[in-house]
């Protein structure tokens, strides 16, 4: 194939369903966001811009995708989603819900429960609740609604009437008017060799395209790249979106390990990891918001190399390895070795993250993970700690301890690991060495989230908490927000 131009059978346009019609678009800027397209080009101003960084949810729209016989309704932040990423989906916005004068059940319930005041967050709230309603969960409780709304800020109501509205609307059956759209397959390439939005449909196309354009920006969920554009004002010229690469999102259970494709979204990952350990479910539940989890992927999260990256310390503690690919060449590295320094990763030119291999817990292995942040939901960690200990007769053998927020990268606490070996759960005095050793492992920074002193103290205390819990303490006595049954499906 030619490196610079679409090959035969490549679509030069994106296709999606909008307002009941199939729409084909070409000639758009690769960095145009969905929200800007809606508001400035489509004249659809119902969807609001609140923060332009995917944190307030006012811009929430729903992408309905048809996979087999089922339709998935994904709420996404349109402010940081690239327009091209809606290829192959039905785009549903707040204007689409009412049928004539008849409001959708969630809209009607919001009116009758006084769920709007200033109304500016309301379109986003409506769409988040719409996604949940049309997905028709068997049962819906207040916790599930809170999770659904974690990415929707409301400054007026205090949320109670919104939650009441969602619960009331659940009694009304989904309208089922939105079937979604099925991906039409093939490669998408909009633009020319100097400026394009590309969405390869398979690994071979991806490999070839990225080799030809190693300067292109790989975009997975765009939950961070979106901000490079909206806040950093980067003029990104070449975008390769990974969301359509067949098989890249596969999650395989290989017995003792899970093989998670780089394209698996956090939403898809949540129940998988929760099955490994409920703490992982809780960390994932608190990861961003529904909108962020619907878009963001494990590969994007790791490749992006955030120093906090809630997922990475958990996976490091589990002993995960990373599969990197360049054309046909595969390279496997321990995850902790991938993170070299602040925002610097061991990823070679033209190489992309293919998958993560996560060992499951074995008998005799105890695991705990904790996220500490200023706000419990939808916040970035001050400290994230994850522990995996092999325990026999109350004595710790092998240990893996990893932290986020304590250094320029997620990292193992090798000194503490060394000191914890041989410690006994019943004897707190034997924990002290490892707790103190954390000071050798990390010299954290002070920033707007927390001071260095606090981070160090919490890092110690979380190790202590893990040991107290492993000794048998009930989480209801050790945590203000314990993991919840049924919250991670």
């Amino acid at each position: 194939m030619q490196a610079s131009a679409p090959m035969d059978g490549t679509r030069g346009e994106i296709r999606f369903r909008f307002r009941g019609r199939e729409v084909a678009l070409s000639g758009f800027s690769p960095r145009l966001t969905l929200l800007d397209w809606l508001r400035t080009e489509a004249g659809a101003t119902g969807t609001k811009e609140g923060c332009n960084e995917g944190d307030c949810g006012a811009c929430t729209v729903v992408l309905a995708r048809r996979i087999g016989e089922t339709t998935s309704f994904a709420p996404v932040n349109s402010c940081i989603l690239l327009l091209g990423q809606i290829d192959g989906a039905e785009l549903i916005t707040v204007e689409d819900l009412a049928q004539g004068a008849d409001l959708h059940p969630v809209q009607e319930a919001l009116v009758t429960h006084h769920g709007s005041q200033c109304g500016f967050c309301t379109p986003g709230i409506v769409m988040s609740l719409f996604a949940q309603h049309e997905s028709a969960p068997d049962r819906l409780d207040a916790s599930a609604v809170e999770d659904q709304l974690a990415g929707n800020l409301c400054r007026c109501t205090g949320y109670r009437p919104i939650i009441d509205a969602a619960l009331a609307a659940h009694d009304v059956a989904p309208l089922g008017l939105w079937q979604g759209l099925a991906d039409q397959g093939g490669d998408v390439f909009v633009g020319d060799a100097t400026r394009f939005f590309a969405a390869p449909g398979n690994l071979a196309s991806l490999g070839a395209l990225y080799e030809a354009h190693p300067d292109a920006t790989l975009v997975s969920g765009a939950t961070d790249v979106g901000l490079w554009i909206t806040k950093g004002l980067q003029d990104i010229q070449k975008v390769i979106w990974l969301g359509r690469v067949a098989g890249l999102d596969a999650v395989e259970d290989c017995g003792e390990t899970l093989r998670i494709g780089a394209g698996a979204t956090h939403a898809a990952l949540l129940p998988v990891l929760a099955a490994v350990h409920p703490d992982l479910g809780e960390v994932m539940r608190r990861f961003g918001s529904k909108q962020v989890r619907a878009s963001g992927t494990i590969g994007g999260n790791i490749a992006n190399g955030s120093p906090i990256g809630d997922l990475a310390p958990c996976l490091i503690a589990l002993g995960a390895t990373l599969v990197l690919q360049k054309r046909e060449t595969i390279r496997v590295v321990p995850l902790e070795d991938f993170f070299i320094a602040y925002r610097k990763q061991d990823r070679q030119l033209g190489e992309f993250v293919r998958a993560v291999i996560v060992p499951k817990l074995k008998d005799g292995q105890a695991f705990r993970a904790y996220k500490v942040s200023k706000r419990i939901d939808e916040d970035i960690s001050a400290v994230l700690a994850a522990f995996r200990f092999d325990i026999a007769q109350g004595r710790i053998g092998a240990a893996r301890i990893a932290y986020g927020g304590m250094a320029g990268t997620p990292a193992r606490a090798r000194n503490a690991e060394g000191f914890i070996i041989g410690a006994r759960l019943e004897d707190e005095a034997t924990w002290k060495g490892a707790m103190s050793a954390l000071a050798l492992d990390f010299q954290p920074l002070t920033d707007q989230r927390a001071s260095a002193q606090y981070r160090s103290l919490v890092a110690r205390n979380l190790l202590k908490k893990a040991l107290i819990e492993m000794r048998g303490a009930d989480v209801s006595t050790t945590r203000v927000a314990p993991p919840r049954e049924g919250a991670y499906v």
Partner: protein, 776 residues
């Protein structure tokens, strides 16, 4: 059970008022069909503005090279101070705040230039092309730095009573302490925005997201150097205000108007969230240094508090904000000897401004902190200490000398909440839970709120309304109040529908517009429905009176015998539809339009003499919060909240409930997760929702029990209702006190040192300090 304690005020027979009708725009909100500034259809040729901001907090701009900006794609003009035809000042009162910085810079993030371009994207992308040369001076950011530097925006002010130093010296017991109180970002979901459309001969229509269209009109006229009459400011709704769009919407509007003036094109200026954070002011952070004297029962003998406010770079609304901190510095308590002293410090950050409660919450938090300290010192239950200190018939004077006649409402309200929240039993249960010294400890607190209602600047207590009845019986309603989500338009429409005896739907609500009702006051100080409801009622009443005269003449009865209800007009055995009567009035050449005007009676506060009555009445409330704290991480969780809040006879209980719950959540956020952090250079590090954390759904306790306390207002307020905008914010204080309570359990009798907001970090540090004290 009757809650009426004072002279029975007979309930009116009302058809529309008191009904829990939905917000007038609710159906538009949920369809995305409610129009905000950025949703207004743009005329062809509309241009967009992006701000160029100062990179330093204090110093001078030596040179500003804008050549590359001007040459950038799509750029039409670059606005600087030199483009201003009028006066370069957007300050509400004190001439101290330039629209665009000229040479001297007052804070990092101050507007230095503005790019006008064909698209917003082009305007934003041109901004970083500017080249600055600056001379940077060391800024003062914190209260400590400002106090050390000694610059103030306004003179110190104090009031009080008695010889407080002597009273403190002779008090049976005394304590003193310091409390740092954080600021708060408004985080209205719709950022600051304005859209200016130029007309002929200097006319300018400014669509503005503001609580004070009249101020926007004044400032645009001042900046453009034209009479006020050239400018029309219009506000249909805001996507939230909370005080942040009282004075500070004017700058954004004036830039849009300047852009429209310079280019001749419609110009829109809508701030990106990060720019909004850094350009606009916030709730003032305060430092409270307090000394208190009390007896063995914890009853106050003397209270002295020095309140130092971080006003930011200019006066803005700080005079009123800091004064209100003083008015509420004793909350609902009586101190025989009292001194409230304030400093209004200048720092090199964005000018702090109005925020729901307007300084009141800061003053109130300090005394509530003192109540907890007294309780811990005396060993009494904090609720008992609070009750023992309430204003009472033999102790009914506030520190500013106003005699409080309504001293019975709050004790009754507190007693009821104490019962309904099961406070005593839960406290015992919590103590049992904490007895085994668990990692997760719990705490509970029940705190009162007493909030003075009226603008403390007496002249602002006035309002106008304009009501038309058309020949088809439909009604046009306009008034000076603005809609920011609180439901003011709905409430006032209910008042007008009631007056005419017509269904609510017949009253058409229209955008606030300075050409319809002039010289208005901001929608602030919780006064919206008190003032505008009255003005609209007066206007509607005048029209109804004239219609009654026509009907009376028609039926040969006295106008007083004519009644209006259910869309019809009755007299004797006759009736006519409201619509037909309107038509008859037109034929009879009777005016069907009226401008109503209202001013609040009885107010005579004299700031210089420190005497008089600043408030028409007080709104009361109380909340009981239970929290859990993790003593290993400092994380907190609010478990249950019970609220009882005084709204008088509610105009609309559903809307009032919304104000109470929303206000509580906002107050809780202020005191827990919402933390503003600047670096030493004056850069705001918490400049977006990714770093500044307002409450999300899961932060509000699932177990939230809110009830209205509905005694009639004793003043002749609109249908005997009480104001409800600001007071509920201070219900959040019980969360802070509950955290204090949980910490106190770690070392009973030891003073808890905890500043606000109670972030996990502060809670953990406080917990460690308590544990260390226990060991001693």
């Amino acid at each position: 059970m009757s809650e009426t304690l004072m002279p029975e005020i007979p309930e009116e027979n009302l058809a529309v008022v008191r009904r829990p009708v939905a917000h007038d725009s609710a159906r538009l909100h949920v369809r995305g069909a409610a129009t905000y500034i950025d949703d207004i259809r743009e005329p062809a040729g509309t241009l967009h503005i992006a701000p160029g901001l100062s990179p330093i907090a204090r110093g001078r701009i030596l040179s500003l090279d804008l050549d590359a900006v001007r040459k950038a794609p799509g750029v039409v003009a670059v606005l600087t101070a030199a483009d201003i035809p009028g006066k370069n000042d957007v300050a509400p009162t004190f001439d101290d705040e330039p629209l665009i910085a000229d040479k001297d810079v007052m804070f990092r993030g101050q507007l230095v230039f503005a790019v006008v371009a064909r698209t917003r994207d082009e305007a934003r992308r041109a901004v970083p092309l500017a080249k600055f040369e600056t001379e940077e001076q060391t800024p003062a950011i914190t209260i400590e730095q400002a106090a050390a530097r000694g610059e103030i925006v306004l003179p110190d002010y104090d009031f009080g009573r008695g010889d407080t130093p002597a009273a403190l010296a002779s008090a049976p017991k005394s304590l003193k302490g310091r409390l740092m109180i954080g600021g708060q970002e408004h985080f209205y979901l719709e950022g600051q925005a304005a859209f200016a459309v130029p007309g002929e001969a200097g006319d300018m229509l400014v669509h503005t997201s503001t609580q004070d269209p009249t101020e926007v009109q004044h400032i645009c006229a001042r900046v453009l150097g034209c009479p006020d009459s050239f400018i029309v400011a219009e506000t249909r709704r805001m996507g939230g205000g909370f005080g942040g769009k009282e004075s500070q919407a004017a700058q954004v509007a004036a830039v849009a108007a300047l852009g429209a003036h310079v280019t001749g094109h419609p110009c829109k200026f809508r701030l990106d969230r990060d720019d909004d954070f850094v350009m606009t002011g916030k709730r003032h952070d305060f430092r409270a240094d307090w000394s208190v004297g009390f007896d063995a029962e914890g009853v106050l003998t003397a209270y002295d508090v020095q309140l130092d406010a971080n006003c930011g770079c200019s006066a803005d609304l700080s005079p009123g904000v800091v004064d209100r901190a003083m008015f509420h510095a004793a909350n609902a308590y009586y101190a025989p000897s009292v001194a409230i002293r304030t400093r209004r410090l200048r720092t090199d950050i964005a000018s702090n401004t109005a925020f729901r409660g307007f300084g009141g919450p800061q003053g109130m938090l300090a005394i509530e902190r003192v109540m907890d300290a007294i309780a811990h010192e005396t060993g009494r239950d904090p609720l008992d200490v609070r009750k023992a200190n309430l204003l009472r018939p033999d102790g009914d004077l506030t520190p500013y000398g106003m005699k409080v006649t309504e001293t019975d409402t709050l004790p009754a309200l507190l007693d009821k909440l104490e019962r309904t929240s099961d406070y005593r039993a839960r406290r015992a249960e919590i103590e049992a839970h904490n007895a085994i010294d668990p990692i997760v400890r719990r705490g509970i607190a029940l705190t009162p709120v007493m909030f003075g209602i009226s603008f403390t600047l007496v002249q602002l207590n006035q309002a106008g309304a304009l009501v038309h009845v058309y020949q088809d019986g439909s009604i046009h309603l306009n008034h000076g109040g603005t809609e920011m989500g609180q439901g003011l338009f709905t409430k006032v429409a209910q008042v007008v529908a009631e007056e005419f005896g017509v269904p609510l739907e017949w009253v058409r609500i229209t955008a606030t517009n300075t050409a319809k009702v002039p010289n208005t006051s901001p929608t602030a100080a919780s006064s919206g429905s008190d003032l505008n409801g009255m003005a609209a009622r007066i206007a509607a009443g005048a029209i109804r009176g004239r219609m009654a005269e026509v009907a009376g003449a028609m039926w040969d009865i006295a106008p007083a015998e004519v009644t209006f209800r259910e869309g019809r007009v009755f007299g004797g055995n006759e009736s006519v539809s409201f619509k037909d009567l309107a038509k008859r009035c037109r034929i009879a050449r009777v005016q069907l339009s009226e401008a109503g005007f209202y001013k609040t009676p009885h107010l005579d506060w004299d700031r210089n003499k420190k005497t008089g009555r600043p408030f028409l009445y007080f709104a009361f409330g109380a909340s009981c919060s239970e929290v859990a704290i993790d003593t290993l991480t400092g994380e907190t969780k609010v478990l249950r909240v019970d609220i009882l809040h005084d709204v008088g006879k509610s105009l609309n209980p559903a809307l009032d409930m919304g104000q109470i719950e929303g206000g509580f959540a906002q107050g809780m956020g202020w005191l827990t997760t919402e933390e503003l952090v600047h670096d030493e250079k004056g850069r705001l590090l918490t400049h977006a929702p990714s770093t500044y954390k307002i409450p999300v759904a899961s932060d509000v306790p699932r177990d939230l029990r809110v009830d209205l306390f509905t005694n009639a207002s004793r003043e002749d307020t609109i249908h005997r209702s009480k104001a409800v905008g600001e007071p509920p914010l201070m219900l959040g204080i019980s969360v802070f006190s509950a955290i204090i309570d949980a910490l106190h359990g770690l070392a009973p009798g030891v003073h808890v040192s905890l500043d606000a907001p109670a972030t996990p970090e502060r809670v953990l540090m406080a917990a460690d300090a308590m544990r260390a004290a226990r060991k001693c």
